[in-house]
Point group: C2
Chain length 343, copies 2
DNA sequence: TAATGATGCTAACTCGTTTTAGCAAAACGT
DNA sequence: ACGTTTTGCTAAAACGAGTTAGCATCATTA
């Protein structure tokens, strides 16, 4: 690049001032520019292939036009989550529409560099969407209290931070109710991640409530933990099979984790759903293609991202904090892994 | 935020000039600052929670410290590709290490807004990694000729643009050779995407070469097309089964696409590998968890991203164009979907 | 004692925009 | 013919850093 053209170059080429160039190219209302000058400027800009410098514009506007999308997880786990791309797609679509870009970054909770805060304080981004926060996440609370535009994709034990989420507890309850309705009473649980995460805690609590409503005694021994990866599901299922427990059904609070669990079953020649019923959660795009197709809870991931981005951009442009949380509906998707479908 | 603190605020608080603040905080060599002043500045910066403004820094440095990662696909297809997260992980890890951020954006080839060029000319990014370019991609060629730092993740019919890739042809050949070695001679092909993409063309050509080397006549009728999504694999497999062809094996040039194809087979009660052998390509993280675990070609996706990012950052920091392409090795992964493993 | 050198700091310019305030010249009204 | 308004443009001040050149002050040397 033989140096990018600046507004000054355009001004010189068109024989006008930088100010005029700016007025013309930004279509400023109320500034009277003759049609003749306007054309001269437009042509010069075209000829020089002029594009205004983003940093310079940012500085004077006080806005970067960049959104930060942060996952509160270790990078390897963040990228393993198969629901994530859908959320990203929702965000980036809205961002593009409004002329924003998106910086994506996994920032684990124990991050000692405070990358979340830094991202905002260095003004790399205008606002943040934080996915999968911990229940207690002081960094997020501090940022919010410092008036950082921040939208949670998930829930946190602190009021008033605007969020976009599903009702994890209700959804999990729905899932387990389905299993119960099919006659299962010995139902194990594999979590999507550790209980530090609010989504985890809520799903577990939904599982528990469904059991109790059906008069089934909740048993800690039936609860196992995944970490968002298929490998963790593989291992958890091994643990279940290796134990003396003989659940007739398992509710796995993440399809991604369930993938690994299904593999364990496949390896041990245990048939799904004939020998054991498997209920997933998330409805990742490939769940319907698994063998057997996974019954699960559909999360509107794209819409989650879409809503989060819209709330955030609205906040940025209107300068007013969103007043309401946005809770999207989930849906029980019955496929074949629970055996409820007549074949 | 009651307004972010600026360098001037720190200077005032510490009772020194802005220049001194800058010298202290950036640890400029050769500038002699007394330990006393240094501490005063550091304390003031700490107290005010000072973070230098990214835009301002960008402007004066002439660098944004942002890398652009662009996928040459429609957003829905880009986000459906299950290998992508691994590549992203590689890029973002290297980027983080060097103090760069990453803007991710799918930019389809027919994009009428020239988003790729704009991203660079507006100086939103310092350089670009472009994944999955078309064979002919004039916009990329133009950018490169304008000296934009750009690394391809894939190949293009134009010399000298630095790239990180695998040898798609050789890898496909390896895959098909495996099927042939198992005795298959009627082998169908489902592509990963349309032939405009170089990776597609190369995989098809590898398939063809393997057949010809084995004395098997290549037949256009056995070639089907996917579009990177499981759904396309589902449909392509239906087409195959609906035809009069009776291939004993199918090479599917994308595990993501294969997922859908496996579903078709499951639905029609066709057993893999007993009734038909399936060979994948990509080795997406979940391939080993499928039922049956998919035999495939391993692509070092993380390393692909890692190398691309390193090449690019090196280019940016050393100001010299990389001289060599970087071709990474693939590996045949034999699992169960081709029936080669004794159970 | 005066010249020289090192030490410790700062004034002022730069980056490329947007935007405010205002200045000429032309058009208008009385 | 003189004031007023409108039209069309520009000078200059931001924005918040990094950086160059140079100025005092104090210590050292001749």
């Amino acid at each position: 690049m033989n140096k990018r053209a600046t507004a000054k170059d355009v001004a010189d080429a068109a024989g006008v001032s930088r100010t005029t160039v700016s007025f013309v190219l930004n279509n400023i209302e109320g500034m009277r520019i003759s049609e003749e000058t306007r054309q001269k400027v437009l042509q010069a800009a075209e000829a020089l292939n002029y594009h205004p410098d983003a940093s310079a514009r940012s500085m004077v506007k006080g806005k970067t036009f960049i959104l930060g999308f942060v996952i509160r997880q270790e990078p390897d786990k963040a990228y393993a989550d198969l629901l994530l791309p859908e959320v990203m797609r929702g965000i980036s679509e809205v961002a593009s529409e409004h002329g924003y870009h998106m910086i994506f970054k996994p920032v684990p909770p124990e991050d000692e560099k405070n990358s979340l805060t830094t991202l905002f304080l260095e003004h790399q981004v205008d606002g943040l969407i934080v996915s999968g926060p911990l229940s207690k996440d002081q960094e997020i609370v501090d940022l919010f209290n410092a008036h950082a535009p921040i939208i949670l994709q998930g829930r946190i034990d602190y009021p008033n931070i605007p969020s976009v989420d599903i009702n994890n507890r209700k959804a999990a309850e729905k899932a387990v109710n389905h299993l119960i309705s099919l006659g299962h009473r010995q139902i194990a649980f594999i979590s999507n991640a550790s209980l530090q995460y609010s989504s985890c805690k809520d799903r577990l609590s939904g599982y528990r409530r469904a059991l109790e409503n059906a008069g089934i005694i909740y048993d800690d021994a039936l609860v196992f933990y995944g970490d968002r990866t298929p490998d963790s599901g593989y291992q958890a299922m091994k643990n279940i099979l290796g134990s003396s427990l003989k659940p007739s059904a398992i509710f796995i609070a993440s399809d991604t984790v369930a993938l690994g669990s299904l593999n364990t079953l496949y390896q041990q020649n245990i048939r799904v759903p004939e020998d054991i019923a498997i209920m997933g959660f998330d409805d990742i795009p490939l769940s319907k293609h698994l063998a057997p197709p996974l019954s699960t809870i559909h999360i509107p991931a794209y819409k989650l991202g879409w809503n989060a981005a819209n709330l955030l951009i609205n906040w940025l442009e209107q300068e007013e904090t969103p007043q309401h949380d946005c809770i999207l509906e989930t849906e029980l998707i019955v496929r074949e892994s629970c055996g409820s479908r007549q074949k």
